[in-house]
Subunit: 366 residues, 2 copies
């Protein structure tokens, strides 16, 4: 039963939810997961300085947040060598993608993405009446040239590209993306999702000063603050200014603003997390190999492991892992859905994975 | 300069921001305010149990929030004697108003509100292309009968009414609002903003089980968690279900969810705050009277004080208070803008007000 007073667009939308969260799954299975390796969170946590700052900020939580996220925005500008006018802070990349789609997409407008890329972006596009055009991955990589060509073909207003990619973990050099931009129509915009960029080789980030690109960053991954909901977008000042017309100005959590600022300043902790993630990627790769499976090389805090058969088999492995208390996810599109996607865990998490995977493969019928 | 790639609707929107926040004002004046009495925050703070719960929850802030706010939603349902399906939790009332307007309002749709009522609601209506129709206050009260009559006249899809009212602090019995509903067109929806309802007489809340009404509540006022960003809406299940199609599912701060739940359970602290607020209202009324001014009786955590002349004079008083470090706001519409709106403060805050007000009145030329 739906409410008939909503707009025609809303009535046309599916009731589907982009992701079922792990807490919902835990309630369904009647027990918590022993290893939470499905949401690409940072099990290594945020900087202790960020934690201290957040806890201290709780004592002022009776105050509304600074609606301009002034301190955080200025610190981000300084760190990235751009002006504060090139940055908008929002309620995670999810929130910012929602605002961006609302800014750019009227009903019927064309949007290009990869088949199997971020569902929450698609959710926002559909939610604003946009028409999605999808390009396949090429050898488990997003395909910038094909995305741009499709954008020109369908007159896209928005093109989505994640670099490094989620769910595969693969990446392109920034130069390759910049080169592909030549084929992007002038009235289009590339939304470059760099949620995992802190885990990528130095060559992965693209140059910022291009009116054709808006880059999305987050404190949810390398900075370990997924529960705080802090993301930011970097792009041309006239486009960034447009967010002021529609965003929830007092939407940021006050303690989260403070915590993100402290996390940003703690570059030593970031390096610590990067090293832990690199070691965990290697361990996941080793665990896969011990089970006769290959891992896709990753520039993120997760590893997609090729289960060697089809999507049904990978799903059976995923579900068997879940029954053993190991929460992982998997890609959505053929043939990437032959993989399961495993987030970097603590040594204890990965010991549980190592223990559970052979049984899961057996249960799945290998 | 604006970005020409945005939609026609976005290009038509003003760059104006609903509220300039106190931090922005403090940066402009080069000093913090000594008394923060302008944003109707709770200077008495949240429950110490909520603070403890939030600080403890920071240790799990690396996890995404529960996308369904399950525990909080169920506790709210139990407290209000309704089903969890009648409740959606969101990023403050501001965030929920944005979602609601997006659900209900297509470009050109009519919306009715009071002239001088909540600007952020108007911001969302304009942002989605709705057409605002405004009804004047009646003797500093919102006028339910006039709102409903206007809604019928213009074929409104949405009617906004705050009870108790902001910025005047006045209120109606729930029964009066229920009676007025008889005149609301069947295909319309009343959005009843009850942000301040915990400060109001027991007769103020309206009965919930009416398909014509959605009620907005918040943890920002009586629960002292403005910086946490937690609001909720209560309404008919089919309408509440529609939020799932568009909301930012992982948009809630994880520690805020936990803090709100603890705040909800601490009814003793709520009673403590209610008593503090009642005492502060009386003290503001006394301070006004000592300066020859009258206070509008209030059912909220603020008092609108009639400065006795026009909007220019009230603005001069407000600005003179600001120069003395006392931050207050004022209503927007004639003749309510003859008042300044003073949030309930600590005894120390109100001592500063008592000290500053005579000077402010003198500076304003009385």
């Amino acid at each position: 039963m739906s409410d008939t007073r909503t707009t025609r667009l809303i009535q046309s939308l599916p009731a589907a939810v982009p992701f079922v969260g792990p807490e919902t799954m835990e309630r369904a299975r009647g027990a918590p997961f022993a290893a939470r390796l499905g949401a690409n969170e940072s099990v290594f946590g945020p900087s202790p300085k960020a934690l201290d700052a957040m806890k201290a900020a709780c004592d002022e939580i009776w105050k509304y947040p600074d609606s301009t996220s002034f301190d955080l925005r200025h610190a981000l500008a300084a760190q990235n060598g751009i002006a504060p006018e090139n940055i908008v802070v929002g309620e995670g990349i999810d929130g910012l993608l929602g605002y961006l789609v609302r800014l750019m997409i009227a009903p019927g407008d064309a949007v290009v993405t990869s088949d199997g890329a971020y569902p929450t972006f698609n959710y926002h596009v559909t939610g604003h009446g946009g028409t999605l055009h999808k390009v396949p991955y090429r050898d488990d990589f997003e395909d910038p040239a094909a995305l741009m060509a499709r954008a020109a073909e369908v007159g896209a207003k928005l093109v989505y590209l994640a670099n490094p990619d989620n769910p595969m973990g693969t990446w392109h050099d920034g130069d390759a993306i910049t080169a592909a931009l030549d084929a992007l129509p002038e009235d289009a915009l590339l939304v470059l999702d760099e949620a995992y960029v802190e885990f990528a080789p130095a060559a992965a980030p693209v140059a910022i000063d291009d009116a054709l690109v808006i880059r999305m960053r987050t404190f949810s991954k390398a900075h370990g603050l997924a529960g705080a909901r802090v993301g930011y977008a970097m792009g041309p000042a006239p486009l960034i200014a447009e967010f002021e017309k529609i965003r929830n100005h007092f939407g940021m959590n006050r303690a989260a603003q403070v915590g993100a600022l402290a996390a940003l300043e703690d570059t030593r902790w970031l390096a610590h997390v990067q090293a832990k993630v690199a070691a965990a990627r290697e361990e996941i790769t080793r665990i896969a190999a011990r089970n006769g499976l290959s891992a896709i090389p990753s520039a993120t805090n997760f590893v997609s492991v090729d289960c060697g058969r089809d999507g049904d088999f990978a799903r059976a492995v995923l579900e068997a892992l879940g029954r053993q208390g190991v929460f992982v996810r998997m890609p959505f599109a053929v043939p990437q859905n032959r993989c399961i996607r495993i987030s970097c865990g603590t040594p204890a998490d990965l010991a549980l994975l190592a223990d559970a995977l052979p049984r899961a493969l057996a249960e799945a019928g290998r």
